[in-house]
């Protein structure tokens, strides 16, 4: 075989490799957007209440089962269910924060972590008791549809999820920047005593923030379900991913969560490509540990 | 002048980003003295104190104790060589009793439980905490907590005691009660450096006073000298204050 022929061949395989790389990258970005949405709720709660909501993953599982039930029992499409589940989960989050977390934890950080751990144990195992450990999915006509973007074939539901996430993040930003409630939320986040002195009902704002964070999960669940599977333990996989994103982006930063989510999605997708499916998640945890141990303020945060 | 002082700080500078909290400040603490460090709000007293106590490293400068350079020595090692501190915002071990609180300090020199507990009791009695020995530290009054701060620090049997605003937050009668306590500590052979806001008490207590303003050491000397130093008066009361006061005094004399 001549030199030129070999060069052409290797060029061809490089092209192929590049295509695979590109599609892994694109897929990572798409998945990362939903991760970002999950992390958005977490970081918002952290930024305002300064607490780590350990039940975030389990609440996401609950939302995914809610989507599942809405589809199986009522024939509701996830993209329609989102308009019912989002307000429902807002109320759930509001109630949990106001009726359970605050009174039970006596304002102690360690207690808050334990109470939210308790909530996560209850949700996860109640789902296990009701739905058993079987993995379930919903069957929607567009579940496997793809769209062609340049050289890539992208899953339509994932593209929808990507766009929807950006829209939600934009809406959230508008809400925080423009609305009175948003201003109150930002005031409480900065200086809760001062905010209280200005007549802001801090307990109410806390609960509203928790509600918004929880509502983000309902949206994420509706966007995830067309392509993801659900079982009672699925939240575990998401919770550390979400924590990683939040830590990576800087605790409490919305832009950070968005960027962190996209980064993590890409990292997961690429390490899955190069190290195999089972070790793909290791990359995320290693990032988590390295960032926490060596740069706790996050990639975009100022050094303490 | 005597030989090397017990504690010597030379050219201490501490920067936080662009902000210079302490700027080339030097201070000597003679063995057996009560030395006061005063200054208006935001003068850098607390930062300077934190550097001496080993809770922050200075950007430049050196701290020596008995002639030994301790600038980079961590806080717990400073306690071992005989430097103890209290906290401006009292930091009791809230879940423990007064006795157990003091015992944590006493364990430094007395590894056995019996000895540490006995030592803790002694010190509590000396500082007037006897009746509260078995109370939870979280239940003490502010004055009680200030005493507990001192008791715990004393339990480490220091040769130098750093007091960070132990009088702040006390009412006049509590301050009056506290002054002999501080004196008695010095008389038992412990050198004291006291950072204080309450001027009057400092004047009563201290042999030497140093004044820090805007990060710089602007005056040193006996309390009476320092109090009449125009630079000090200006630092506390603003530019031109010394002149105005002189003029007023002149007017009233006339």
């Amino acid at each position: 075989m001549g030199v030129r022929a070999r060069a052409i061949l290797s060029h061809g395989s490089m092209m192929l490799k590049f295509d695979i790389f590109l599609s892994a990258l694109a897929n990572g970005l798409l998945t990362g957007a939903v991760y970002a949405l999950i992390a958005l709720g977490l970081t918002l709660i952290y930024g305002v209440l300064h607490i780590i909501n350990f039940a975030h993953g389990a609440t996401l599982t609950l939302a995914m089962f809610a989507v599942f039930v809405a589809h199986q029992a009522f024939g509701l499409d996830p993209y329609i269910a989102v308009f019912i589940l989002t307000p429902l989960f807002f109320v759930l989050g509001y109630a949990l924060q106001r009726a359970v977390i605050t009174p039970a934890s006596h304002g102690d950080d360690g207690n808050i972590l334990l109470v939210t751990l308790g909530i996560s144990i209850i949700i996860e195992n109640a789902l296990l008791a009701i739905f058993r450990s079987d993995t379930r999915s919903i069957d929607v006509p567009y579940g496997f549809s793809v769209m062609e973007v340049g050289p890539l074939f992208l899953s339509t539901p994932k593209v929808i999820a990507f766009v929807a996430t950006l829209a939600v993040a934009g809406l959230l930003w508008l809400l925080l920047a423009r609305s009175d409630t948003g201003k109150a939320i930002r005031a409480v986040a900065k200086e809760k005593t001062g905010a209280a002195l200005c007549g802001i009902d801090v307990a109410h704002i806390y609960a509203v923030t928790f509600g918004i964070g929880t509502a983000c999960l309902a949206i994420a669940a509706c966007l995830l379900m067309p392509t993801f599977l659900v079982n009672p333990r699925v939240g575990n996989a998401f919770v550390l991913v979400a924590f990683t994103i939040v830590v990576l982006g800087g605790m409490g930063s919305i832009g950070g969560a968005l960027a962190g989510g996209l980064i993590i999605g890409v990292v997961e997708s690429l390490s899955g490509l190069y190290f195999g499916e089972s070790l793909g998640q290791i990359g995320i945890f290693l990032i988590f540990l390295v960032v926490l141990l060596f740069r706790p303020t996050g990639l975009f945060g100022a050094k303490a | 002048m005597s030989a090397t002082p017990l504690l010597r700080c030379t050219g201490i500078t501490k920067r936080f980003g662009g902000l210079v909290a302490v700027d080339d400040a030097s201070l000597d603490v003679e063995a057996g003295s009560i030395t006061g460090l005063i200054g208006p709000n935001g003068a850098g007293k607390t930062t300077f104190f934190t550097v001496i106590a080993g809770f922050a490293e200075p950007t430049a400068g050196a701290v020596t104790f008995r002639g030994r350079d301790i600038t980079a020595l961590p806080a717990h090692r400073r306690a071992e060589i005989g430097i103890a501190r209290t906290f401006q915002i009292v930091q009791p071990f809230a879940g423990l009793s007064v006795r157990e609180n003091i015992a944590v300090g006493a364990y430094l020199r007395h590894p056995g439980r019996e000895a540490a507990m006995a030592r803790a009791e002694d010190i509590a009695l000396r500082l007037g905490l006897g009746p509260m020995l078995d109370q939870s530290a979280g239940d003490l009054t502010v004055a009680g907590r200030k005493r507990l701060e001192m008791a715990r620090a004393l339990a480490t049997e220091p040769s130098l005691l750093l007091l960070d605003e132990v009088l702040a937050g006390l009412n006049p009668s509590e301050i009056r009660d506290m002054i002999p306590v501080v004196r008695a500590i010095r008389d038992s052979g412990v050198t004291i450096l006291i950072v204080e806001h309450v001027m009057q008490a400092v004047m009563q207590l201290c042999d030497t006073v140093a004044v820090l303003a805007q990060g710089r050491m602007i005056a040193k000397g006996r309390p009476s000298e320092v109090a009449s130093d125009p630079k000090v008066i200006e630092a506390y009361l603003g530019h031109g204050a010394a002149k105005r006061m002189q003029a007023q005094q002149g007017a009233s004399h006339a």
């Binding site: 550390l240 290791i282 | 879940g95």
Partner: protein, 330 residues
Amino acid sequence: MKGGLFTSGYGPILIVVVALAVLPFGFSANTTLNFLGFVLIVTLAAQGWNLLAGYGGQFSFGHAAFFGMGAYGIALAQVRFGLNPWLALPLAIALGALTGTILGYLSFRARLRGSYFALVTLAFAEVFRILANASTFTGGAAGVLIPLRIDAANFQFADKRSFYWLALSFVAFVLLLTHWIARSRFGAYLVAVRENEDAARALGVDALAVKLKAITLSGGITAAAGCLYAQKFLYIDANLAFGPWISVEALLAPIIGGIGTVFGPLAGAVLLLGLGEITKTFFTWLLGGAVPGIDLVVFGVLLILCVAFAPRGVLGVLRRILPAFRGGRA
């Protein structure tokens, strides 16, 4: 030691241990003995957690990391290297302790506290779980099967009671150790660091060293529980050894029993697992079939109730109600 057995606090430990030791003469049913043996394993794991979190205030959410090191350590030493399990036992415990030291060094050096420390320990446990599940050395997803060779010299007992007494001796040892630590300088320093790290440092306490010592001991103790688990069931996989279940039970037991007390982990484990059995039996009877996870739902509710209403756990409540229980506090 001044004073008698009871004023020094060792008396109650002796009574409890003796009472537990004679228990198997009352029951002989294998299921009961199995259950009690399991309770002791969870107790031991929880005792490790209690030392670090209860006394030292460092809340770990990932004690499975140590439990799994013990379990995999003793199992692989036998299966891969042909070591006698009795010889493997101290090695596996040392492995757990070393894991504690390393994990502690990394997180405490980075000044991680509170929620951050909890998350880091959880992440470590998850990393170990994924690695153990993927590596061929650890048997991958199939796990490790310890060959059945019943012989006391082989750490496998024909009589269930022997295993129970062995586990009890571990628990008893840690009860004594905990009590001794609680009254020692190290214990006082540990509690001081929990209550206020800066104040402790000012009093000459090397906070980093104290925390490292605690997490090393804690890791070793919980690894011992993992060893017992592996030898009891002769089978482990990544989810059993490094899974969240043991992290959760190791922290639930002391919190429910009485955090930062000598007997808290034991009382909590008995209560927790006992209640778990009752719940499972009740729902099986009610619904005519086993309901997975229902016991854990009860545990979660119990955790929240304890944090809300009984911060000193069940023993704390008893102490408030019954004057006889007072004075036993370390």
